[in-house]
């Protein structure tokens, strides 16, 4: 049954691409030395070369320079590093931080942790599609503001922020901008020569790369302190043994994403939304129609509960995610759905579908067919559903 699972939870993690695995292998079995200086032994020099080549590939994908990319253990570390590193470097300038209400946990909880240490944090509202109120952002920035951290694509509803306006507001006010691009990286490209964002969190696990690898783009000249003590790796910004197979795999994963593939993924996603909206009553698409990452669909099915829906789907071989409180470990409804003005009920019956390279039209059609049956069945027993 395992290998037949039709997997629609690719924002959580993706299947590793075999080509990525092949690219990584030599750095476990042949070139396993640490990256050394060019005056050391050859295996170390080869390892160093591989690391720097991977760095160049990642830099190219953002139109950045290799010296602006630091490898990390994933997006959680990257966002911690960006926010803690910059606020620490600018502690004499001020202690005010701005984030959006619907950030993912690495940013949200880093902000809350700084708040406990005496920082002032503003959580900016978003509209009912999840887009940030840029006027409110401009008004909230003060002389004390040291960093604005606004995500690129939302983890649950896929809404894309208007990074162009947000970055120009920050530029105008002289405030640094960090963006968590974990859920858009390579799917919705960012060109740092066009968009003046200062720090970008990126990750490998969402694009068929290895998990436990990520990166942080740091624009040249950005003040940032090292926040984890240890050795002098990664331009003396990120201590710890370099994950060379991971970096090589990450770079390979980036190379494998093509514009063509992004179009195919979007077409499948659009097909799913189109079929569900036309064939099932009382559904809402959560998030924005136009400003949306190509691989994300998030839909609320009224009168049914998400955990029941996902469990029924699981028993039929489909993997999806829900914003229902019943599904979460903290028993809390999705802060994103609540943040876009949805109520508990909207989170309760929401499903998130995230697509990847490996999804097919056939399984997209079969999951819609399955959902139609299950939703009808659950509505039949729901006290809220008025049978027509």
């Amino acid at each position: 049954m395992e290998d037949k699972t039709a997997y629609f939870d690719n924002s959580a993690s993706t299947r590793l691409d075999e080509r990525v695995f092949e690219a990584m292998k030599p750095y476990y079995f042949d070139t396993y030395a640490v990256a050394t200086s060019e005056f050391a032994y050859s295996m170390g020099i080869d390892a160093k070369e591989a690391l720097e080549e991977a760095r160049s590939t990642i830099a190219d994908s953002l139109n950045a320079s290799p010296g602006e990319i630091v490898f990390t253990s994933g997006s959680t570390e990257s966002s911690n590093m960006a926010i803690k590193g910059v606020t620490s470097a600018l502690k004499n300038k001020g202690r005010h931080l701005i984030v959006s209400k619907i950030e993912d946990f690495p940013v949200l909880n880093t902000a809350k942790s700084l708040e406990k240490q005496g920082f002032e944090v503003d959580f900016i509202e978003v509209d009912d599609t999840g887009r940030l109120n840029t006027e409110q952002l401009a008004e909230t920035i003060t002389d004390e503001t040291v960093l604005v951290s606004i995500q690129h694509a939302n983890q649950e509803i896929g809404t894309l922020q208007d990074l162009e306006s947000i970055s120009s507001i920050c530029r105008e006010k002289g405030v640094l901008l960090h963006t968590d691009a974990t859920h858009s990286f390579t799917r919705v490209p960012i060109d740092v020569q066009q968009i003046p964002v200062d720090l970008i969190t990126i990750a490998s696990h969402t694009i068929h790369g290895p998990r436990g690898v990520g990166g942080l783009y740091i624009r040249k000249g950005t003040p940032i302190n090292k926040w984890m003590d240890g050795g002098f790796q990664e331009f003396n910004l990120r201590a710890g043994l370099e994950n060379i197979p991971g970096a090589v795999g990450f770079a390979k994963a980036v190379e494998l994403v093509t514009e063509e593939e992004n179009k195919q993924i979007k077409a499948l996603r659009d097909h799913l939304i189109e079929r569900i909206s036309s064939e099932i009553t009382d559904v809402i698409l959560n998030g924005s129609k136009e400003h949306r990452s190509p691989h994300n669909a998030n839909i609320t099915f009224h009168y049914v509960e998400g955990e029941s829906l996902t469990l029924h789907l699981d028993m039929r071989g489909f993997a999806v995610n829900t914003g229902s409180a019943c599904f979460s470990r903290s028993l809390e409804a999705s802060h994103v759905i609540l943040g876009i003005g949805g109520d508990h009920e909207r989170a309760h019956g929401s499903l998130r579908f995230t697509f990847s390279r490996y999804n097919t039209l056939e399984e997209t059609d079969t999951i819609v067919d399955a959902i139609k049956e299950i939703v009808a069945q659950l509505r039949e027993i729901s006290p809220l559903y008025e049978k027509k």
């Binding site: 049954m1 395992e2 009168y303 049914v304 509960e305 955990e307 029941s308 469990l311 029924h312 028993m315 229902s324 409180a325 019943c326 599904f327 470990r329 903290s330 028993l331 809390e332 409804a333 508990h344 009920e345 989170a347 309760h348 039949e380 027993i381 729901s382 006290p383 809220l384």
Partner: protein, 211 residues
Amino acid sequence: MKFPYSEKVLDHFKNPRNVGKIENPDGKGLEGSPACGDMVAVYLNVNPETLVIEDIKFESYGCASNIATASIITEMTKGKTLDEAKNISWKQATEELGGLPTVKAHCSVLAVEGLRAAIRDYEEKHGLVSEKETTTEEVVRRRLKHVMNPMAGLDIIRTELVTKIEINEGSVRILIDLPSDHQFASAIKEDILEKVESLWDIEEVNVVFTE
């Protein structure tokens, strides 16, 4: 593949028994938990001579634990008297199901509460209930026994999360031995409010966490 649910839970989830509505039921209970968003409705037809539950049906807007518990209690109570049915505990229901994950306890308690609410509704409509009692610490404590501590799967009274209950002219203050930023703090608070605010002589409920 390993589900966190027993075979029996999955069976009742997939094929729930006694599902639906009874038109013009003799007793009806609707319980909802703001902590998880689940709701359950229970409908009863009762023989007025023998007070035996002759028919019982339920509807659920809830997760697997909620559906499975509601389903099993309809089986456990059909043909029983109201007094027998009233005494069926959440614990008996979950044992009958072969256990439930502790964190899901409150979803399943809801089903048992739905049953009790339906019985109460019947008793109230048929003049079987005595006068309203004044809210005392003991009354609040009894209500709080229906608020789950999701960490333990037992109620917050038994797990000693409640350190103090103060009642003062229609206002109740409940002290909880958890920091306010604990992952379950807001879920527990919502659950407490839901259970205590409905007391007829209570106007205000304050839930206080430790810092």
